[in-house]
């Protein structure tokens, strides 16, 4: 009784086509149960999309907290980790000029080069050498880096002086608690650089708790003007920095940034988040809980309603059996119908989920002044559809079971 492959495939295709046709037919004639099934799956998928969107948003927030930078231009060899850690590898050159050029774009709020370097400083009490991670930037009002406000620093980069590095030395620094602790300095005191060939020091303007991603909670950090850090670390020669931070609300800026330097990569907040998602278990747990809830709700919904549909449509199943449709073909038909309904529900659900994310962001923005708490990643579209398909496949087991139990002779005698 073996059927040739082509015939088998054609039969399966025709059965799926028949399933689609019947679902459409039912939507036209008696749509109540089908519409309810679609809505059931749609709600489940919308839930998973919306909650996953919030989880993604939480992940993004937890990694780059209060950091307004949307894009990071980094050398190609760098990874997302090196956005925060000076890798000592390839650096970007002529960064002041490039940043100024980026800032001239109206879509860009600000751009600043960031040089990261471990700098030896002298402990004021013991005279011993300690090390802090110094970040050199071109400060702006209201800017934050590693949770430290750069507002106390004089805006701009006066010492740079159009590349001559002979402008006024501000010597200003903002440090975190850890840096203040290891160097025994406090606000208003000097931080002496312990490097041969320089007697430069930095004046601590502000000490705050700060907070950095990537487990830097207790790392000593100091933020200073870029050109001054370049001067004490020897990076001034070619105006070097590790990356350029660009703050913008326009995603289209990315393509322009990618062509700035050869062999560089533009990393977004989301890109960093994706690589660092595992560092935060809460969003992952939230996303998984939503997925499991959606699967259970969706499967129960579609199994019940499609089961009722099969029970009320026993005459059709009986007719197909009398015509010679094998039990397997009838099961495939029921399964395909359930899957079609689930996928339609998935499409509606993804749309509803996207709308929910928009609504959540609007409400949160209006109530708490936060720009976006949830993120609609385009990958949520295939994700939602896959969830719907899984709901359809698992949910089809019960209707198929009911279909197989249908007694043809009983149906014919009704």
């Amino acid at each position: 009784m073996r059927v040739p492959g082509r015939v088998w495939l054609r039969r399966r295709r025709a059965l799926v086509g028949l399933a689609v046709h019947r679902v459409i037919g039912r939507l036209r004639s008696s749509p109540q149960r089908v519409v309810l099934s679609v809505l059931g799956v749609a709600l489940a998928v919308a839930l998973v999309v919306a909650v996953t969107g919030v989880a993604l948003g939480l992940t993004a927030e937890s990694v780059v907290q209060n950091d307004d930078t949307d894009f990071w231009v980094v050398p190609e060899q760098s990874t997302a980790e090196s956005v925060a850690v000076s890798s000592g590898g390839v650096k970007l050159g002529d960064v002041h000029a490039v940043s100024e050029r980026i800032e001239r774009d109206e879509r860009v709020d600000y751009a600043t080069p960031v040089a990261l370097s471990v700098v030896p400083v002298t402990d004021r009490t013991t005279g011993e050498t300690e090390y802090v991670l110094a970040a050199g930037i071109v400060p702006r009002e209201g800017q934050e880096l590693f949770g430290l406000s750069t507002t106390p620093l004089a805006p701009g980069d006066p010492h740079y002086a159009n590349g001559s590095y002979d402008g006024p030395w501000t010597g200003e620094a903002v440090v975190n608690d850890a840096a203040a602790s290891v160097t025994n300095t406090s606000e208003g005191e000097e931080l002496q650089v312990a490097r041969t060939g320089t007697n430069r020091s930095f004046h601590v303007l502000n000490v705050s708790q700060g907070e950095a991603g990537f487990g830097f909670g207790s790392a000593p950090i100091a933020i200073v003007h870029l050109s001054e850090l370049q001067s004490v670390t020897g990076l001034a020669g070619s105006d070097q920095a590790d990356q350029i931070l660009v703050s913008t609300n326009d995603p289209a800026v990315r393509s322009d940034l990618e062509s700035l330097y050869p062999h560089t990569t533009v990393v977004t907040k989301r890109g960093i988040s994706a690589q660092q998602a595992s560092t935060s278990n809460l969003p992952l747990a939230v996303g998984l809980s939503a997925l499991l809830s959606a699967l259970v709700v969706g499967v129960l919904f579609i199994a019940t309603l499609m089961g009722l549909e099969v029970s009320s449509d026993r005459a059709t199943l009986g007719t197909l059996a009398t015509l010679g449709f094998a039990s397997r073909s009838r099961s495939l038909l029921i399964g395909a119908e359930t899957l079609v309904v689930a996928v339609v529900g998935g499409l509606v659900g993804v749309a509803l989920g996207a709308a929910s994310i928009g609504v959540v962001n609007r409400v949160v923005g209006a109530q708490f002044g936060i720009a976006a708490v949830a993120v609609f990643d385009p990958l949520l579209i295939p994700y939602g559809l896959v969830v719907a398909a899984v709901v359809g496949v698992v949910g089809s087991v019960y209707p198929i079971y009911l279909g197989r139990r249908t007694d043809i002779l009983e149906v014919l005698s009704e």
Binding site: M1, R11, R22, T322, F325, S327, R328, S329, L412
Partner: protein, 252 residues
């Protein structure tokens, strides 16, 4: 002899020499009354003998009528001939296959390839057009879409419904629906056509049209027709009379 055979010039002798499409010998079908088996089911449940030793032969080109009151076993016999059920005892062969030995899948294949069924209540799928309904068995046979369409349209032309191909059952009269059902039953060119009260839901004039269609089917099919209705049975070459599951007699 029916007017059809007179027209065709088929003699009794001529029919008796033709290929046997379906045959049964001492056919018995018993049903168990109530629900038994399972973990808590009772042991000895009473049985009802719906068919009791029926023997019959149906040859190609022949129309066999089956008559009898309700509960006489007409439907049981039709279900067995259509391989929808299996006998409790006796031998039943359809298109050369021993129905009692076939699996459910084997019986489905037998129905698909060799048996066409026409019901009193048409049993068309309401969401499909007349053309799609006729083409349904061809889906299971794995025919291409184009071939299915051509075959269904040809059959609808044959039953006089070429202009109703895109209509849904709800848009057709009872007679038209029954003609669509007959076209569907003929889609796979079955050797055996089984009709259970095919005119039961139709008025006299429409019923007559359907009977004319059965009569016009020619010599390629064997038709078994169950009915209470004498004008319907009148198209049969012979009529088997059933009473309490037994053959009480046959009339020509």
């Amino acid at each position: 002899m029916s007017s059809r055979n007179q027209e065709l010039g088929v003699t009794r002798k001529g029919v008796s020499e033709r290929e046997v499409i379906a045959s049964c010998e001492s056919l018995v079908r018993e049903y168990t009354r109530g629900s038994g088996g399972g973990w808590f089911g009772g042991g000895d449940l009473p049985t009802v003998r719906a068919l009791d030793g029926v023997s019959l032969e149906v040859r190609r080109g022949e129309i066999v009528g089956i008559e009898g009151p309700s509960g006489s076993g007409k439907s049981t016999l039709l279900h067995l001939l259509a391989a929808l059920d299996t006998p409790t005892a006796g031998e039943l062969r359809v298109a050369g296959e021993d129905v009692g030995r076939l699996s459910e899948r084997g019986r489905a294949k037998l129905r698909l390839e060799h048996v066409g069924l026409v019901f009193q209540r048409f049993h068309l799928l309401p969401s499909l057009s007349a053309r799609a309904n006729v083409a349904l068995p061809l889906v299971e046979l794995g025919w291409s879409k184009r071939k299915r369409r051509e075959r269904a349209e040809g059959l609808l032309d044959d039953v006089g419904l070429g202009d109703r191909a895109t209509h849904r059952p709800g848009q057709l009269s009872g007679g038209e629906q029954q003609r669509v059902a007959i076209a569907r039953a003929l889609a796979t060119e079955p050797a055996l056509l089984i009709a259970d009260e095919p005119t039961g839901e139709l008025d006299t004039a429409t019923g007559r049209q359907v009977l004319d269609l059965f009569e016009s089917l020619g010599e390629d099919h064997a038709i078994v027709l169950a009915s209470h209705d004498q004008p319907t049975l009148a198209i049969a070459d012979r009529v088997i009379r059933l009473r309490d599951g037994r053959v009480q007699g046959a009339a020509r």
